[in-house]
């Protein structure tokens, strides 16, 4: 399945690499594809995740305790394209990427078959000035966020810079705030839909059940579930529960 302007009802799942255990990353990814997820965001953990609420903070902390690093993650992802065929994006904060070396990071992403990155604290200006060339050389798409407060001019600029999809935040919030879809968020989704952007649009933050998923995907191409899925991973034999989870939403 491709993420394109014609696609609809796409479901993407976020989870943190190295949580609940160090080597759970690819097992979870594989199970998600089997269960019907359309693409994936694999989080690489950071000690200071300012855009995240308590659930994803906790998963990051545990992943770090389990010993997860970017080195280990790329080691694990060597088998990514043997086991998983849907698009995969890496999501995390900019400091581990800088420390790893932006060029190294992009090379590795390309090598293991990662499609793109979502780095919330890497803003557009810094990306354009410092990093864009390296990303492009490696064919790695960087995904930008849009919030209800983002101006139309800025959204147009993001649309120009984007090469995969645009990540629309359901509200101005950290991750894990459950979305109650209200008139104002529907008006915002509609405003974005009416802008008729070049790139596909996917809504994230607060999508946690069938109802919020349906509402969100009635306006845009897809939606991302993060916190609600990460919560599931705390359960025993979580791999067996993934199929029901996806069916419960999609």
């Amino acid at each position: 399945m491709q993420i394109n302007k014609q696609a609809n009802g796409l479901l993407s799942i976020y989870f943190t690499a190295g949580y609940p255990s160090l080597d759970s990353t690819l097992d979870i990814a594989e199970a998600l594809e089997k269960a019907g997820a359309d693409f994936l965001e694999i989080g690489f953990p950071y000690s200071d995740p300012v855009a995240d609420g308590p659930t994803i903070q906790h998963s990051s902390e545990e992943a770090l305790k389990n010993g997860m690093t970017l080195n280990i993650l790329f080691e694990q992802l060597k088998d990514l394209r043997i086991r998983v065929s849907i698009p995969v994006y890496l999501m995390g904060y900019v400091n581990p990427v800088i420390q790893y070396g932006v060029e190294n990071f992009c090379n590795k992403c390309k090598e293991v078959g990662v499609n793109g990155t979502i780095i919330p604290d890497l803003p557009m200006y810094e990306y354009e000035e410092l990093y864009q060339d390296v990303f492009k050389e490696n064919g790695i798409s960087n995904i930008f966020l849009v919030t209800p407060q983002t101006s139309e001019a800025r959204i147009r600029k993001i649309d120009d810079l984007s090469t995969s999809f645009i990540y629309l935040l359901s509200s101005n919030a950290t991750t894990g705030k459950q979305l109650a879809i209200q008139e104002q968020s529907e008006a915002y989704f509609k405003r974005i839909k009416d802008m008729d952007l070049k790139n596909p649009v996917v809504i994230g933050f607060g999508i946690h059940d069938r109802d919020t998923f349906r509402k969100a995907t009635s306006y845009v191409n897809g939606a991302i579930v993060g916190t609600a899925f990460v919560k599931l991973l705390a359960a025993d034999s979580y791999l067996d529960k993934i199929s029901d989870f996806i069916q419960g939403i999609k």
């Binding site: 000690s47 200071d48 581990p96 930008f144």
Partner: protein, 394 residues
């Protein structure tokens, strides 16, 4: 424009910028676009100066420390930020930012605090202006700093425990940023040092620059000299140092010395000596130097002084360090505590343990005898009595 000051894009050399998630972009952009026109407006300046004078008690004295000078064989002046209302330089910044928040029409103020000094300075100006105040403080620091928690509460602030991560200053800052993400419209975040996304480092440095502005005038009056030979300050995030250095940066013959906290020793694994131990990276919205693992995870620092216990430094300091304009050194817990006791015995001034780090470096310097040295005495030691008592067994 000075090559040591921020450029139009918010950078000091390779450092600075605004590495913030899109959710904070409107808030930060609003500040970027408005801070200069607001703080340079005559009505703003007038109220800022009036409050610094009548409320904070400025100008703070430039005190010729005679007995300390005799001891080290040179001419030492102390810039007495310890005499400010609330006991430290922190109030210079919070006065400036509360006036700015008013001009921006914000109704709610948030802040982070470590030892509680910046939290108290923020709660103070919120009481002064009748604005709602929420202070994030690490759960562990709340236990360690009970009197400052009580002060904030007396002034009507809500103190919220940061329970994530290491439960100290770095995590309190994360929580404040998360609060700001979730309250994007009516809230202003008063950051406590020259850290954070552009324009905070520059804005806070401007508010603190009153320290060197006064020093220049006072020194001329007292000695006839336009500039000192050496200016010194301690560095946590770096706001008192930024204020102390500000008006001397372009006088290249003025030596600039910044003292970081070495904790139990730079190589002990328990230290906060950022320039010695850190690498370039991004923390709390700016590119600077920070203490981190090979994998880019932030390391929890250690210092006996809660105000210096921060894993980063402001981007301007990273630039002063990297460009060689500033000399960055460190002092251990032990060196600082002894220097604090020495000042108390020689001059009858009990310094904050943070400020004692700057004093401690005197021991490692050699003097010809005719230098003029200005040290920023960033705060008073009342808040640290417990620590001094435990350390020396008084």
């Amino acid at each position: 424009m000075s090559k040591y000051q921020v450029n139009q894009k918010g950078y000091y050399g390779p450092f600075g910028g605004a590495y913030i998630p899109e959710m904070l972009y409107p808030n930060v952009e609003e500040l970027q676009q408005q801070y200069l026109s607001i703080i340079e407006d005559p009505s703003f300046k007038e109220e800022f100066e009036q409050l610094l004078r009548d409320y904070v008690g400025r100008p703070s004295p430039l005190y010729p420390a005679k007995r300390l000078s005799e001891k080290y064989g040179t001419n030492i002046f102390l810039k007495r930020e310890d005499l400010n209302h609330t006991g430290a330089h922190k109030i210079n910044n919070t006065i400036g930012q509360i006036l700015l928040a008013e001009k921006l029409g914000k109704k709610r103020i948030i802040a982070e605090t470590g030892a509680g000094q910046h939290g108290v300075a923020t709660a103070t100006v919120c009481a002064l202006k009748g604005l709602e105040c929420v202070v994030y403080m690490g759960e562990i620091d709340i236990q360690r700093q009970a009197p400052n928690v009580a002060r904030m509460k007396m002034m009507g602030a809500t103190v919220i425990a940061a329970t994530s991560g290491s439960k100290t200053l770095k995590d309190a800052t994360n929580e404040a940023l998360r609060d700001w993400i979730n309250n994007p419209v009516d809230t202003h975040y008063i950051i406590g040092s020259v850290v954070g996304p552009h324009p905070y480092p520059d804005m806070v440095a401007r508010f603190q620059s009153i320290i060197s502005e006064e020093t220049r005038k006072q020194l001329l009056e007292k000695t006839g000299k336009a500039t000192p030979d050496i200016v010194m300050a301690c560095v946590g995030g770096g706001s008192n140092a930024a204020g102390m250095f500000y008006h001397f940066l372009d006088d290249e013959d003025v030596q600039i010395i910044a003292v970081e906290a070495a904790g139990h020793g730079v190589d002990s694994g328990e230290s906060a000596a950022t320039t010695q131990l850190g690498q370039e990276g991004v923390l709390h919205g700016s590119r600077s130097i920070l203490m981190q693992t090979e994998d880019g995870q932030v390391i929890e620092p250690y210092s006996i002084s809660a105000g210096l216990d921060y894993p980063g430094i402001g981007p301007q300091h990273a630039w002063l360090f990297k460009s060689g304009r500033g000399t960055y050194v460190s002092a251990t817990d032990e060196e600082a505590m002894n220097a604090g006791l020495l000042l108390t015995k020689l001059e009858g001034i009990i310094p904050a343990i943070e400020s004692s780090h700057a004093l401690a470096h005197l021991e490692k310097m050699t003097f010809k005898g005719d230098e003029t040295v200005v040290i920023c005495l960033s705060g008073r030691g009342d808040k640290d009595l417990d620590n001094y008592m435990k350390y020396f067994g008084f």
